[in-house]
């Protein structure tokens, strides 16, 4: 091994003996280049290439000259040291080999400027596509994940996944909403409920009511046709709001005893270690219990070096079915709330002016009726007659 290493060096040597000029001439005749020749008592010193060392040694041996190398310069010495410790060399080779092999594993996920909540949502989506730190990634997986995340149009306007050398870069833009006004349909607007007209705010069409006017359920409020002076029909789609004051009652009941899932306060933690495409799960005793799940993702890293591994920590807050006994007041309050929910479900823009409540307890349940007096848009395309 050593002669090969010598080849890269420059050597300084000393030749001693009788008639050393002959050594010099013979060496040069053999095509050896010598530099820095210095005369010494009974010999000379010179510099030459390491590759000519064997020739020079042979020559000196044949002519009975004393030949000795006293200096070496070049990469040979550190190379020899490296060869004396093959573990270092092997370790380096192994390192680059593993680096090349493991470049298809995800070492880190760069979420860019995403906030924590969106990051967690994105992690869940990617986890469903089997993409996380420590997972093996191929093009099909990436494509599937790309398609899945692209469907989240409520969060991302545009999103792309780029996987390069172990790092998954997620680039995205936030979704922007734009209200596009639809063309008014060629349908008249009718009163959804009987009441008194408070405001007329038609955007299109021909209004047939005025504020202060009382209307009946199903009455035509905004028409799409009008006749001009000559009796010709003028058509225009109907849209807009007709605000009316309405009185309406809602009834709801609330049982005094309810079977419901209640958080017990106990929790269970499931941990899974994902590393180099493999999964190690922690064993659990209480498996299959119901509960609210909360997932935390913990990528592993050594100092500032990310590792192709991740711990998925799932905390399950256990729930148990229990009978809840409400008092009459509690049950009535819940029933009242239910009535209001019904009102807002039907009239989301309702402004309540007054309400009259009536509550009774019938058997094991509280029944409440609330009569609301409210203002809301009562125009509807449905004919309520």
């Amino acid at each position: 091994m050593k002669p090969n290493v010598w080849m890269a060096d420059r050597i300084s040597f000393r030749v001693q003996g009788k008639n050393v000029q002959r050594f010099l001439n013979t060496a040069v005749e053999q095509g050896i280049r010598l530099d820095h020749l210095r005369w010494e008592t009974d010999g000379f010193t010179a510099r030459g290439a390491g590759r000519d060392l064997s020739k020079l040694e042979d020559l000196a041996q044949k002519g009975n000259w004393t030949f000795s190398v006293f200096q070496r310069k070049g990469p040979g010495i550190p190379l020899e040291r490296l060869l004396d410790h093959p573990g270092i060399l092997l370790g380096g080779v192994l390192f680059f080999l593993l680096l090349g092999l493991m470049s298809r594993f995800i070492w880190t996920i760069d979420f860019g400027s995403m906030d924590v909540e969106t990051q967690n949502r994105m992690r869940s989506l990617l986890y469903d596509c089997q993409i996380y730190e420590g997972a093996w990634v191929d093009d099909s997986k990436l494509k599937t994940a790309q398609d899945t995340v692209s469907q989240q149009s409520d969060v991302f306007g545009w999103i792309t996944l780029n996987f390069t050398d172990g790092c998954l870069f997620i680039e995205n833009t936030d979704a922007e909403y734009q209200n596009i006004k639809k063309e008014a349909p060629m349908q008249p607007l009718y009163a959804k409920e009987s009441g008194e007209i408070v405001a007329v705010e038609p955007e299109s069409g021909f209004s047939l009511v005025v504020p202060g006017q009382s209307v009946e359920k199903g009455q035509l409020l905004v028409d799409v046709v009008r006749l001009d002076r000559d009796g010709n029909e003028i058509r225009q789609g109907a849209s807009g709001k007709i605000v009316g004051r309405v009185e309406k009652s809602y009834t709801a009941s609330q049982p005094l005893r309810v079977q419901q899932l209640i958080l017990t306060g106990a929790s269970e933690i499931k941990q899974q270690l994902f590393c180099l495409g493999r999964v190690w799960s922690q064993q659990h005793e209480n498996q299959g219990e119901q509960g609210l799940s909360q997932v935390e993702w913990l990528p592993l890293h050594l100092g500032r070096l990310n590792l192709p591994a991740m711990i998925r920590c799932e905390t399950i807050w256990l729930q148990q079915e229990q009978t809840i006994v409400y008092s009459q007041e509690q049950a009535q309050a819940l029933a009242f709330r239910n009535c209001r929910q019904q009102l807002y479900a039907e009239y989301p823009d309702a402004v309540i002016e007054s309400e009259q409540r009536a509550a009774t307890v019938e058997g094991e349940q509280a029944v409440c009726t609330v009569t609301y007096r409210f203002c809301s848009n009562i125009a509807s395309y449905e004919d309520w007659k």
Partner: protein, 106 residues
């Protein structure tokens, strides 16, 4: 008369120098080794052997003749093939043919 003679001599000298410039050197001239001296370095492309190598005296075999350099701190900077670079304080250069008769000394 004197002016006429002087003019004639001048013409003869000019013609001779012109002839000398046009004259081709002997063929052997181009086969002879040459020396190039620059500063404290002397370079030659015709060194066949080093006959003597000491700080005060370096003798080189140039084929048909030998050349000896006398001086101080003489050393060979590079020697490969027939190209040799000599360095040091060269004081005297002596040429001698192979038969021992000195050619001339500089």
């Amino acid at each position: 008369m004197k002016l006429q003679n002087r003019k004639t001599n001048h013409n003869r000298t000019a013609k001779a120098s012109l002839r000398g410039m046009m004259l081709q050197l002997p063929r052997e001239f181009y086969r002879l080794p040459d020396f190039e001296l620059r500063g404290g370095y002397l370079t030659t492309d015709g060194c066949r052997r080093v006959l003597n190598f000491e700080p005060e005296k370096v003798c080189l075999d140039m084929g048909d003749f030998t050349v000896t350099f006398y001086g101080a701190e003489l050393r060979i900077e590079s020697y490969a093939g027939k190209r040799l670079v000599l360095a040091g304080q060269i004081e005297t250069i002596a040429f001698q043919n192979k038969w021992g008769k000195p050619k001339h000394e500089t």
